[in-house]
């Protein structure tokens, strides 16, 4: 399969296709974000591709690209075909503002929870998602922790306790 799949996508969506590369026998296809639902629909419904199973949706943050005017976020759809036994990684770039993409929930229902997770932890909004709320963190949580600027270690509620010593004792 693989190279034929890539070719098919390129033929069907020449204006959306950006590039494709292979790493460790896995193909990654990078497309533009605007017509993602159409591309997803095509990948699922084409009998030779038949990507009926959405394994995963996740996002990667590249703050360095934003500074040079590029696309800061990358949304990755990990697709799988149970019928044809092949996998594909569909990737698309997103600018920081507005950080929005169409939801693929109409194509794969599995996207319902997976996209909510991306929204919660990375702050990417999915248009036409039926229930876009935070999923792990509380509703009033500030920020999106998987963004690179968010510290892995930080001040928590504990630091507001007055009876705890705030500074190291002087020796």
């Amino acid at each position: 399969m693989n190279s034929e799949v890539v070719q098919k996508i390129q033929e069907k969506f020449p204006s959306e296709f950006i590039q494709a590369n292979e790493f460790r026998n896995d193909w990654t296809v990078v497309v533009k974000p605007d017509r993602i639902v159409e591309i997803a629909q095509f990948l699922r419904d084409d009998p030779e591709l038949a990507f009926d199973h959405l394994s995963d949706v996740f996002s990667v943050d590249y703050p360095g690209r934003s500074a040079s005017g590029g696309e800061r976020f990358e949304v990755v759809y990990q697709l799988n075909s149970i019928q044809k036994r092949h996998r594909l990684r569909l990737s698309t770039g997103l600018r920081e503002d507005p950080c929005e993409i169409d939801s693929v929930y109409p194509v794969w229902k599995a996207a319902g929870f997976l996209e909510r997770e991306v929204y919660d932890l990375m702050g990417i909004r999915f248009r036409n998602h039926p229930d876009l709320r935070r999923i792990f963190l509380p509703e009033d949580f500030d920020g999106h922790p998987l963004r690179k600027e968010y510290p892995a270690e930080g001040k928590g509620w504990r630091n507001t306790f007055e009876f705890l010593p705030t500074e190291e004792p002087q020796t």
């Binding site: 995963d56 996740f58 990990q78 996998r87 929870f113 892995a152």
Partner: protein, 425 residues
């Protein structure tokens, strides 16, 4: 949510409109077009502390009488930010964190993670290492399914099964303890192989266990299949069709219970799965009973796989010989200066895999456990994403729970084999 019935509301409005009517001695007539039967939707909060939720999961149920109209899972009570933590750890340091995802089956988590890193590095494993990994992973599958069977039966009300399955689970956990020194959070797999070899005593005890195990599965079957309550509470409960199961991204026994032939061990054979003979059990209807049956058969198949692996177990090393990735043996570290330096570098600096992105899926007892790693060429993963089966399965919870009774909720939780540590990460 309004908790007034319509009838009371009408009365209140009538009183509001004419307060003097309260002093009337005659009872007010009930308006004819209002129904006399009370009908109201009830919002019920279940969890987060509930013995049947296998961790801390809250579900908001919209009920009509006892029937579920909508079930909204509320997750995150066990969210520890493992993915964020991993961005600050070297590749070896991540392994113990994977233990804490699905703490029932930590070996499989280790396995899934090290496979992803090995794919990123392009490292292959010696043959004996692959067999040992397969044996351990299948032992873990039996442990996971035994745990599931015990708790599922306990949730539904058959208490004895719990004690019986934990008896066998104990034997396997003792074996794990002998192999790696821990019973639950194993940290046994290493990038490039495993931590320790199977001793002859372990193999002997494992063979003894395998001899007895199939008869034990028949014992569980006898306990449950003649149990009318078990049958009526599992048959035709939480049915999901094959198309819906694929659409919702379900994997593992939940998908196979609906009759979809998909097992990663067969589709993309890894470790020693391609070298042994075994079958993939499939359900037909996709109800709770089918998933129970699939898991029971899988335990038998796992026993088959382990027995064949033990027969074929070749001699040789269990760790691959790639000095950039694998630390030298401990005896050498104690005697040899170069090995000490080598050991020091591996454990302080880590190693630098090539730049690239990989996704590697492993068949865990609960379904497809996938690790996506984005590497920027540094010693730490730039981004690590865990695709946990429990999380994706919960996405279909509302779809599967609608229309069933409130008492079936615990059955539906149980039938996914959910572990919240993995779900919330």
């Amino acid at each position: 949510m309004e908790f007034h019935t319509r009838q009371e509301k009408a009365q209140e409005e009538a009183i509001d409109a004419n307060p003097a009517s309260l002093n009337d001695s005659e009872p007010r007539p009930i308006t004819e077009d209002l129904p006399l039967r009370r009908s109201e939707d009830l919002l019920l909060n279940m969890g987060p502390q509930h013995p049947a939720t296998h961790g801390v999961l809250r579900v908001v149920l919209e009920l009509e009488g006892e029937k579920i109209i909508k079930a909204t899972p509320d997750l995150g009570y066990l969210h520890r930010g493992v993915e964020k933590l991993c961005e600050g750890l070297t590749y070896q340091q991540v392994i113990p964190h994977t233990d804490r995802l699905d703490y029932i089956c930590s070996m499989t988590n280790n396995f899934a993670y090290v496979r992803a890193v090995e794919k990123l590095l392009g490292v292959s494993i010696p043959e004996r290492g692959e067999y040992v990994r397969t044996i351990i992973a299948e032992m873990q599958r039996i442990v996971g399914h035994l745990f599931w069977l015990g708790t599922q039966a306990l949730d539904i009300g058959a208490m004895t099964v719990f004690f019986w399955t934990f008896r066998e689970r104990e034997v396997l956990l003792d074996l794990f303890e002998q192999v790696c020194g821990a019973r639950l959070t194993m940290n046994y797999f290493r990038i490039g192989g495993v931590n320790g070899d199977l001793s002859p005593e372990v193999i002997l005890r494992l063979r003894k266990f395998l001899k007895e195990f199939p008869s034990k599965i028949d014992e569980y079957d006898r306990l449950l299949l003649n149990n009318r309550i078990w049958i009526s509470r599992t048959k035709d409960i939480a049915v999901i069709s094959a198309e819906d199961a694929v659409d919702f991204g379900l994997t593992g026994p939940v998908l196979r219970g609906s009759g979809v032939y998909y097992d990663i061990r067969k589709a993309e054979p890894y470790a020693a799965y391609g070298k042994v003979e075994w079958d993939v059990p499939l359900g037909s209807k996709g109800d709770t009973y089918d998933r129970y049956w699939v898991r029971m058969q899988e335990m038998k198949q796992s026993a088959r796989i382990i027995a064949q692996c033990l027969d074929q177990l070749p001699e040789g090393p269990i760790l691959t010989d790639v000095p950039q990735v694998v630390a030298p043996p401990k005896e050498k570290v104690m005697q040899d200066m170069q090995s000490l330096i080598h050991h020091f570098i591996i454990f302080t600096e880590g190693f630098r895999p090539p730049k690239g992105e990989v996704y590697c899926a492993t068949e865990a007892p609960k379904g497809e456990l996938g690790f996506s790693i984005v590497s920027d060429g540094g010693p730490k993963p730039y981004r690590l994403k865990i695709r946990s089966p429990s999380f994706v399965h919960l996405g279909a919870f509302d779809h599967m729970a609608r229309g069933y009774m409130i008492a079936d909720i615990v059955t539906i939780f149980g039938t996914y084999d959910i572990v919240m540590g993995e779900c919330d990460r």
